[in-house]
């Protein structure tokens, strides 16, 4: 569905995937926030499970990503404000927040800004600080496709993860590379790779935000994650008093280990 959502640059149309069922604001809500150069499609299985098990699902394309209007927002704080505006537009008072990578920081900052509106926080493949190497950012400025290839290789622990995503027969490296290129090419107002990765790189409020979070927090980390290694989440996990589940997968947890992530989600959303 499409929503009209306030942003620092005015109101903009947002595409929201609702998990294959019409959105019903009277049900308990769950919001899925994707990471850099992704869109709602990274949540298909989890969102469909949630929507068909009594939850009202909002899996938006972030501003400037996929089918949502731009401009892209360039700080975690601005994106957190946008999430709260999205909840207002959808008529959601309180929700579970799920975020992957950059989306996990957006979820964290949102939970810190409006603790009363967040029932639980599930952070996938997270780290704080989420530093991005200057070399990768330099590459992205000159050759975004090359930078995408690097991120793609770093994000997958295997070239044969099963049962694949969203179903058998999908080549995870290829589908992720294609998605990142499509999202990058779909943003005409600038280099979205640079915008997204700078958003992660510049965020300095993580521990302060963690001190304001009041809901239960669960982290899911990939033991073989080369983008956000588990050790890089240790301080944040301590600050959040979070439960941690570590899976034998890489950064792309929802596609490399969809069943294991669903098992955690079921417990968090219960």
């Amino acid at each position: 569905m499409d929503l009209d959502v306030a942003t620092p640059h005015g109101r903009a149309r947002v595409y929201v995937y609702t998990g294959g069922k019409p959105f019903d604001a009277t049900r308990p809500a769950i919001v899925f926030l994707h990471g850099a150069l992704h869109d709602h499609g990274v949540w298909t299985l989890l969102a469909r499970w949630a929507a068909h098990h009594g939850l009202a699902v909002l899996a938006p394309d972030l501003p400037g990503h996929g089918r949502s209007q731009g401009p892209a927002l360039d700080t975690i704080e601005a994106l957190a404000g946008w999430v709260l505006a999205l909840l207002d537009a959808a008529g959601v008072e309180k929700t579970v927040l799920v975020g992957h990578s950059m989306g996990s920081l957006i979820a964290l900052e949102t939970a810190a800004r409006a603790p009363a509106r967040v029932r639980a926080l599930l952070m996938l493949a997270t780290a704080y600080p989420m530093a991005v190497s200057p070399a990768l950012l330099d590459t992205a400025r000159d050759d975004p496709y090359r930078a995408i290839d690097m991120v793609n290789a770093y994000s997958h622990a295997s070239i044969g993860a099963k049962p694949s995503f969203p179903g058998p027969g999908m080549w995870l490296h290829g589908s992720n590379r294609t998605l990142m290129r499509r999202v990058q090419d779909g943003y005409a107002a600038g280099n979205l790779f640079t915008i997204d990765f700078e958003v992660c790189n510049r965020y300095v409020g993580g521990l302060e935000a963690a001190s304001r979070v009041t809901c239960p927090v669960q982290l899911v980390l990939g033991a073989r994650d080369q983008m956000t290694a588990p050790r890089q989440a240790a301080a944040l996990a301590d600050a959040l008093h979070a439960k941690i589940t570590t899976l034998p997968a890489g950064h792309s947890l929802m596609t490399e280990a969809p069943d294991a992530v669903l098992d955690v989600l079921r417990a968090v959303a219960a």
């Binding site: 299985l45 469909r48 070399a135 290839d149 179903g167 058998p168 027969g169 290829g174 589908s175």
Partner: protein, 436 residues
Amino acid sequence: MPGPSDPGFDTLAVHAGATPDPATGARAVPLHLSTAFVFESSDHAASLFNMERSGHVYSRISNPTNAVFEERMAALEAGAGAIATASGQAALHLAIATLAGAGSHVVSSAALYGGSHNLLHYTLARFGIATTFVQPRDLDAWRAAIRPETKLLFGETLGNPGLDVLDVPAVATLAHEHDLPLLVDSTFTTPWLMRPFEHGADLLYHSATKFLSGHGTVVGGVLVDSGRFDWIAAHGRTGRFAELATPYDGFHGMVFGEESSVGGFLLRARREGLRDFGACMSPHTAWLLLQGLETLPLRMARHVENTRKVVAFLASHPMVAKVAYPELESHPDHALAKRLLPRGAGAVFSFDLAGSRSQGRAFIEALKLFSHLANVGDCRSLVIHPASTTHFRMNDAALAQAGIGPGTIRLSIGLEDADDLIEDLKRALSSAKKAA
């Protein structure tokens, strides 16, 4: 900045889509000859059926061995995913049937395998899907043939049997200008010779029976999606792709293009096309194809090396009127082949005997190493007379449009010693001369 990338082609040919089996430790890909797969619980079953979980239910829809083959093919083609099918023809049908229905239209190159021509010209027409055939080099004809109800453009990377080289970048650009996808048959080129997605194609398929297998032991096909075509956006502008952009009553009102930006086409093709048409691949076939793929780079290099030697021999023989091989300067697509097929123009080509039909028969019957049969891409060298076999249902006009004459002979060059192949051809040409 140097950094990691996906593994190279040869590595992907051996490893993509597979890891050691977690249950047994088996290093080679296990052959899962199981019709169905046990549910852990009723909830698990419902989740699989409703696409809340990924996994296998029934081998018509998916199978663990087939999935490795599908992923490996997607990897080799730099695509997003793939579906294994019962044959190359099943893959072509699946591609078209996923996008088109009664009242739809296809624009196709006229330089096609006879079976594909039959499907488009006769059989799909019976179901209300019309096709306009155009000469592959005539971009104006491609453009002029597009109608509001056109769903896709289609051609073979190397047309059968004249080896017309499809100008994939130009036809893809034209297709995209009209919000249409380009589907190509890559059977003759394999991903080792050309990766059409890197030239702009959106969908491709193979008769895996041929070079992907390489051993002449199976019949199979595979449909690969680049994941690049934006079905939702194109539908918004043209209204052409309701199958992927609007709710489908046959699968819980699913809007496939919304479920996955890059996988919507394959989701519908699998969950409707394999489910309902049922032209799935046997896991045994997939397993045999995986054995073939592991040596694809090695075999294709040898196929091309042998072909070049045979082509050079035939091109200088007085009994040969014409050799149609794009690496020859005489071929109309020579320059295009140099650009799109730098590793070689494949191992299937045709030539015209300078003689009568009876001399043609004498030639074929005198061959000892070349097998006279209807196939290509085998490790064994093959020969056939298209006008009386693969293309026999086409009338003279259609034959001429496809570049086939009454004396055209098609060869598929195998992996034998090139000197032995040339000796066999030399002897057969001598027999043909005596039969005058």
